[in-house]
Amino acid sequence: MLERVSWGVNGGSVRQVQAQGWHAWLQAQLHPGKAALPPAIAAQIDAMTISQVPLDQLVVSMEQKRKESAGVMDDMAKQQAQKDYQQELNRLAREAATRSLLLDVYSPNQLQQQLSWFWLNHFSVHQGKHNLRAMVGDYEANAIAPHALGKFRDLLGATVHHPAMLRYLDNEANAAKRINENYARELMELHTLGVNGGYSQADVQELARILTGVGVNLGTDTPKVKPALQSQYVRRGLFEFNPNRHDYGDKQFLGQTVKGRGLAELDEALDRLSRSPATAHFISGKLAQYFVGDNPPAPLVARMAATFQQSDGMIADVLQTMFQSPEFRQSLGKKFKDPMHYVVSAVRLSYDDKPILNAGPMLNWLSRMGQPLYGHQTPDGYPLTDASWASPGQMTTRFDIARTIGSGSAGLFKTDGPQPQEKVAFPQLASALYYQSLQPGLSPATRQALEQAASPQEWNTFLLSSPEMMHR
């Protein structure tokens, strides 16, 4: 169970559960406080630009760089300026992904971290579009993570108002008489009701009208707004509601009239979407698919959806219903890990008490296995089913990665600065944890393979390649 609620068993988490007792530990996971990180990890995160500079400042200064580079007259200098701009964007996105992985490996709030990934994937954005590389860190840390176990309505609202989402799904370009229905469609199909959730093409068009004028402002100027509408203008950070671009007519949305009156229409629409039974069912089904199995039992999903509705979309409550269920218990150990779970669990097991200094190799492994952070092009996010990942190509790649992790330091301790005193050779997986907790669960075939290992490195490789390491 620890394996499923966390990103993977390691010595530290076993000790925590033993100290607190299972029930108290799970409650702490469902209702986490501030995470106490190992000092070395906290220091790495604190040193990042994305931890120090707020999003609006960061993006405004990046935009300035972009405009300056476009204005350079000399061709060579212009090329260099544009290259610098792109590299800075890459660096910011890499910081975000690094922070995300360090927290997954070392934060004691394991469930919150898993849910942060789940919601980031549910409200998926692709870093390759426009300047989203400068935004993904803030999107994850400030729009997603704080609400990951809270009210779904709050989470939804935070994504709708975040510039990363508004840019990714083109709503910044959606204006009265110049309708762009991209976001309106995905907001219902992927984020709330689900594709068979009972909306029509007309509802898509009407929601797109409700969303007109909801966009971003990446500069410091304020647009001219008609005097009569001036009081309606909203600017919060990079978020902007521009009344000039809004369609103030009434809308017929999901069978009811939404009175045309500005940004408040959006709140009304989001209230309706998040309280719809279709949403409760769709979200519960997806959570169950992530935590239980490809085809989660219908009665379990129904009970979760009931909790969703009774609690007005309290995510921790929905999860509690799931964790308490016999269906959940029966599924333990049978879910095939996706690449994220594979990579994070392997590093958790290997370097529990030795903070890594470079998450770069983890990012590369995720790319090789086809699941990089902020890297899914389309807004549906990565698939959550076993069938989508358990392919021949995936397996051979994993065995290669198992060898890399098992037989050396795998680049996880390489730094740009001075090299650390202690040289890390390869992880000690044949530990007390292994003999107490892992070995009893291994199949005879796995034990047999481990016996054939010619060296401790190869032993590690086989353990990390075993069927038991592929499941959670």
């Binding site: 370009a173 229905e181 086809g370 060898r403």
Partner: protein
């Protein structure tokens, strides 16, 4: 009989029946590459209806000019012309009879959802029946060509990181993306020991199939690395990927699948130049490289290019296009009857738009693909019915 002999006997049994089938079946050297353009590409700027004033009125900023104009479309037939980014690649293939297009093609799925409609096509099941989400139509094609599940005589492969839905189902189909390929770190002995851990588990097949494909790819790419040292021209992107695909397909695999993304052009898609032109250029280069690299096997090869839907006929407020309906399928091959724009067609006019916004679907994808597969692989009616249940294949005279 001891256990070992029994296993041998069991393994041999399907082989025998299969050999009998093989002798009877024609055209086993036929090859198919299925290319999926994910995102719904703007087919109206690929196959340009140059005779339609309505086209030019609907796309004031992004239309492709008529043939002869500067950066104009490339003439194909009286009614249709091709995007100029394909000047050196697909346009010559069309005129040499190695390329054809099927406009007004697509599904009857009206969700206008990328994911729903991609699933629809990949599953290839009748739309109002309960779907079996574990059975893609290319998997069913491999099944029926093999005749027996245990003995894959028509090797198939997906050149993707994940096994796509189209290849999921009863037969284990391997996958391996060829965009970047590294040296394997696990040696032969280690591979055997690892495979042994999976024996008797549900992952046994993917694990062993993965090792086989890895060895194939390593072998093929050793040649590439040597060649790369000799000539300095470096190919990249989809062109390199497509070359590698050809290298594997001409020797080892009969049925291949690859997907190409980046087609969801809601904003600023450009016209003769710009974003979409760049995508067409890369795709065209890749497909031309594929045909070159296939060598003599190109004669027996059919490439089908599809996308989940077309886009709105009119440009939107952001010089882009939104999700639409009818698309244009491409058919390429060394032995096809190309140089035609095939299938049912209507005049391009406002009155003929679907829901006054999109290209209609007149050539349903199962009928179109069913007809192509039937001819390419010499399928019997029963075999075709296994792939696309209840379909009436369209006879477009392309293969």
């Amino acid at each position: 009989m001891n256990r070992r002999d029994l296993l041998k006997a069991l393994a041999a049994a399907p082989l025998l029946t299969h050999a009998g089938r093989l002798l009877a079946a024609p055209a086993t050297d036929a090859k198919l590459l299925f290319v999926f353009l994910r995102g719904g590409y703007d087919a109206n700027n690929l196959l340009v209806p140059v005779g339609s004033d309505f086209y030019y009125a609907s796309r004031p900023n992004i239309a492709i000019a008529k043939p002869g104009a500067e950066n104009g479309a490339l003439a194909l037939t009286a009614d249709w012309a091709l995007h100029p980014a394909l000047r050196e690649t697909i346009h010559p293939m069309f005129h040499s009879g190695e390329a054809a297009f099927i406009p007004f093609a697509g599904t009857t799925d009206l969700t206008r959802s990328h994911f729903e409609t991609q699933d629809t096509i990949e599953l290839g099941q009748e739309i109002n029946t309960r779907r079996d989400f574990r059975s893609g139509f290319l998997n069913r094609l491999v099944q029926t060509l093999n005749g027996s599940k245990a003995n894959p005589a028509t090797p198939a492969i997906a050149f993707t990181d994940q096994l796509p839905l189209i290849f999921q189902g009863g037969v284990q189909v391997p996958n391996m993306a060829l965009r970047s390929v590294g040296k394997p770190g696990i040696d032969a002995r280690q591979s055997q020991i690892i495979a042994a851990m999976y024996r008797g588990t549900p992952l046994q097949q993917p694990v062993s199939a993965g090792f086989v494909v890895r060895d194939d790819v390593t072998k093929e790419l050793t040649g590439e690395m040597q060649a790369a040292n000799r000539n300095a021209i470096s190919t990249k992107g989809f062109e390199l990927e497509a070359q590698r695909i050809a290298r594997l397909m001409k020797d080892k695999y009969n049925i291949g699948f690859v997907d190409v993304g980046g087609w969801d052009t809601h904003v600023g898609q450009g016209g003769a130049n710009g974003y979409l032109a760049g995508r067409f250029d890369e795709l065209g280069r890749g497909l031309a490289a594929f045909s070159q690299e296939m060598g003599s096997a190109w004669r027996n090869t059919v490439v089908v290019v599809v996308s989940e839907f077309g886009r709105t006929f009119r440009e939107n407020g952001n010089r882009g296009t939104d999700h639409g309906h009818g698309s244009v399928f491409w058919v390429l091959g060394g032995g096809i009857k190309g140089k035609q724009v095939a299938g049912e067609q209507v005049a391009i006019a406002q009155a003929n738009l679907f829901q006054n916004r999109d290209m209609p679907v007149l050539n349903e994808y199962r009928a179109v693909l069913g007809g192509l597969l039937r001819r390419t692989f010499g399928l019997t009616s029963a075999q075709l019915d296994h792939v696309f249940a209840g379909v009436k294949p369209a006879e477009l005279g392309l293969v």
